[in-house]
Amino acid sequence: MSAPMGPLSGLRVVELASEWTMYAGKLLADLGAETVLVEPPGGHATRAFEPFVDDEPGIERSLWFWHYNTSKLGVTIDRDSAEEMRALRELAATADVLLQGDVQFDIAPFARDELIVVSVTPFGLGGPRAGDPATDLTLLAGGGPVWSCGYDDHGLPPVRGGGNQALHIGGVHAVMATLVAVLHRNVTGRGQHVDVSMYAAANVTTEAATYEWLVARETVQRQTCRHASQFPTASSLAPDVGGRLLHTGVPPRTVKEFEGLLGWLHDLGLADEYPETFFLEMGRDRGGVHLSDLATDVEAREIFAAGRGALTFIASRMTDHDFYVEGQRRGLAVAVIAAPEEVMTDPHFVARGFPTPVEHEDLGRTFTYPGAPFHAPRSPWRIKSRAPHVGEHNEMLG
């Protein structure tokens, strides 16, 4: 049997290059769609986004552009050239999906009953804010996520979560809706227009902040590295032996978790040294504690606090990674707070094949990229190729 192909193989996507479309285009391309990125003759502006390979700027050297354009083909179109616009119309006539962002071509000439047109824009195509300028920062700040992120000290500004997540939230919704439209077309033969608002997407990606307001008219308040809440909760950060912060999770509540924590203290020879061991034994012997008891039951509160204290105490004796792996082996949901580069060398991610080699034959080098978001053996996600050079596939314009 031949190697399985991506689930979207056989589909052709024409993407009119935009910062807003690139993540959606990458996902569709890595899932097997033949995705043609259409740029202006000098290349799209995102090719100037830092950082660059070896820190040398260059139109083929942006790591931002590399990441968001894997598996795509690249062509250039001069919008002022009637001949090139005719070539674009011919290309679009072969497309299943036309993906567009902030640079709006007049798509009317491309329209066919079976074409799926997907627009990814900051505020959608209509409405009171359509056309307002926006970035990842302003979308996350205006759209809700930032309200919930930051520090206990509200004299410090709230924080934007890192990594272009407004682009990812909007982009993944663009892909979900595109796939719905493809499944619809498989039955009806008809395409349609999909309008994606990144601002609306941020607004429905805030978990409790939204439904606490919708249901109970409560306003959550941000806290350091834990859930924003209308009730303050205790810190879940602790330093390891070298001062690196790790995540102690939710302290033990079940008998099994108290047994796991007590066993860990004993095995480390710390049960006598930790002053609150008695409370952990009490927690085990009384059958655990329930979070709902903490408000009214003083003993439960002491036991719960002793669990957090024990985890902090153990953390100070070992490295963050040892704490994470050993704690988890004992049934405690604790974690390392990994930097992205550490994820790429972590034995678990390596064993799952997450770090993904991508050949850059033009540079004579192979680089490691983030890998598949899920494993689908009969129709796998796969990076087919590095990002295209400017106009690398112009021959397909005929």
Binding site: P7, G10, E50, L63, W64, H67, G124, G127, D132, P133, T135, T138, A141, G142, G144, P145, V146, Y151, H154, L156, P157, V159, R160, G161, G162, G163, I169, V172, M176, V180, L183, Q192, V194, A200, V204, E207, Y211, L214, V215, A216, T219, V220, T224, H227, L245, V250, Q328, A338, P340, E341, M344, P347, F349, R352, P355, P373, F374, A376, P377, R378
Partner: protein, 428 residues
């Protein structure tokens, strides 16, 4: 509407979007919380018939959100949890006791008529309950079976326990969110429950497209930490290509913008208690426009004429911008900056973006549903509109076992006396 359990509405055979684009799809849904339930919620909003299976012995509490806050009034109970209601709109609900042979038989019969089986138990739990992929494939050869777990079903840490903040800590998302010389701020909510659910929906929908073309089903192993780590491309490449990690002095600083470099770019104080405004100056054109609005002579320093010059004086510039924003209302600041074409936004509170924002209202982003026990409640809508086959969210989450009669009776053909016997035996 009358009160009490007998007032449960008659089951609807179809979701509100009965003619929707996914109305040919039936989902046998073991998922819970948000990371799993959010994926099947999306399918239901487009017309898929999603049948949520819950445990009658523990009154559905294998999903800890059932019966948990927020509550709409003083009433408490398993049918009154606000988060569960938000995440399970447009689904049907049945109770099946998987510990009993009769219960497992009902699951087998349900799988036989389902296109998709979705679950997000800890890795391996559903297999131990008797339903590994190999068994489901025997029942339904083209079934799409999706397992969504914290660390996936392979690899040395696959048995580890996670929830949103633990996933985010492991995959790099917590570390990269914060200000320099401070602990990570992380995400103040389970961002990866949302994105895990979204990526699971992508996996299911893509697998349905594959099945339409080939007739093949498959088992999909989704790890939320893999999905999370896939959302940090540029910083990962800076490390793997240039050897420059994010664990370094002055980093992370996620209110600044390193990729691409934009300065000034931060969240600034505004007049009032805990009021803030975000401003992002993308390029030299934005810079000229912004200096015009702020009107502070210090900004005309020639050092600030280029991106590189501004980047070298970033903290100094932040101080000058903050001295302007601090005295002003966050809305008027954002309006003034937007008026000259520069991106800006007030940091909106939940109330400001839900109840006082014409943009979310115009989108129809907060649909109101009818819930059998809670009454009328608003919920999250979807951030997309499809011109031919849009989503529809009108029906609240199922109360526990609300659709037993429809699913076991009409779909599986159990007579009323069969169903009474099943209940008697504790199978449903």
């Amino acid at each position: 509407m009358t009160e009490g359990p007998s007032a449960r509405p008659t089951s609807h055979a179809r979701p509100s979007n009965g003619d929707g684009p996914l109305s040919r799809i039936r989902v046998c849904d073991f998922s819970g919380q948000l990371a799993g339930a959010g994926a099947t919620r999306y399918l239901a909003a487009f017309g898929a018939q999603v049948i949520r299976i819950e445990d009658p012995v523990r009154h559905g509490r294998w999903d800890i959100l059932r019966g948990s806050p927020p509550f709409i009034d003083d009433r408490r109970g398993i049918d009154l949890g606000g988060a569960f209601q938000n995440h399970n709109v447009e689904k049907l609900g049945v109770t099946i006791n998987l510990r009993t042979e009769r219960g497992r038989d009902l699951v087998r019969r349900l799988v036989a008529i389902s296109d998709v089986v979705a679950e997000n138990f800890a890795a391996g739990v559903l297999a131990r309950l008797g339903f590994p992929y190999e068994v489901l494939r025997e029942i339904r050869p083209d079934v799409i079976y999706v397992s969504n777990s914290g660390l996936g079903h392979s690899g040395p840490y696959s048995s580890f326990k996670t929830w949103g903040p633990i996933v985010q800590a492991i995959c790099g998302l917590s570390f990269t969110s914060g200000l320099p010389d401070l602990p990570p701020a992380g995400w103040g909510y389970s961002y990866m429950d949302h994105q895990g659910a979204n990526m699971e929906a992508v996996a299911i929908l893509a697998a349905l497209v594959h099945r339409d073309r080939t007739g093949e089903g498959q088992w999909i192993d989704m790890s939320c930490t893999d999905a999370g780590a896939s959302l940090l491309g540029p910083p990962v490449l800076d490390a793997t290509v240039n050897g420059r990690g994010t664990r370094r002095p002055g980093m992370p600083h996620s209110n600044h913008s390193q990729s691409p470099v934009m300065v000034p770019h931060a969240i600034y104080p505004s007049a009032g208690d805990d009021c803030w405004v975000a401003i992002a100056c993308r390029d030299d054109r934005d810079w000229c426009a912004l200096t015009g609005v702020i009107g502070d002579a210090r900004l005309h320093d020639t050092r600030f004429g280029t991106v590189a010059g501004r980047a070298a004086a970033q903290d100094e510039l932040d101080g000058i911008v903050a001295s302007w924003t601090r005295e002003r209302d966050k809305f008027s600041t954002a309006d003034a900056v937007l008026a000259v074409g520069v991106p800006a936004a007030p940091v909106r509170t939940p109330e400001e973006r839900i109840d006082r924002d014409p943009a979310t209202a115009a989108w129809g982003l907060w649909p109101e549903v009818e819930h059998a026990a809670m009454g009328r409640v608003r919920v999250d809508g979807l951030p997309v509109h499809l011109s031919e086959s849009d989503w529809c969210i009108e029906r609240g989450a199922p109360t526990l076992g609300a659709d037993n009669d429809y699913v076991f009776g009409e779909l599986l053909g159990c007579s009323a006396s069969d169903r009474a016997a099943l209940q008697e035996e504790g199978a449903i």
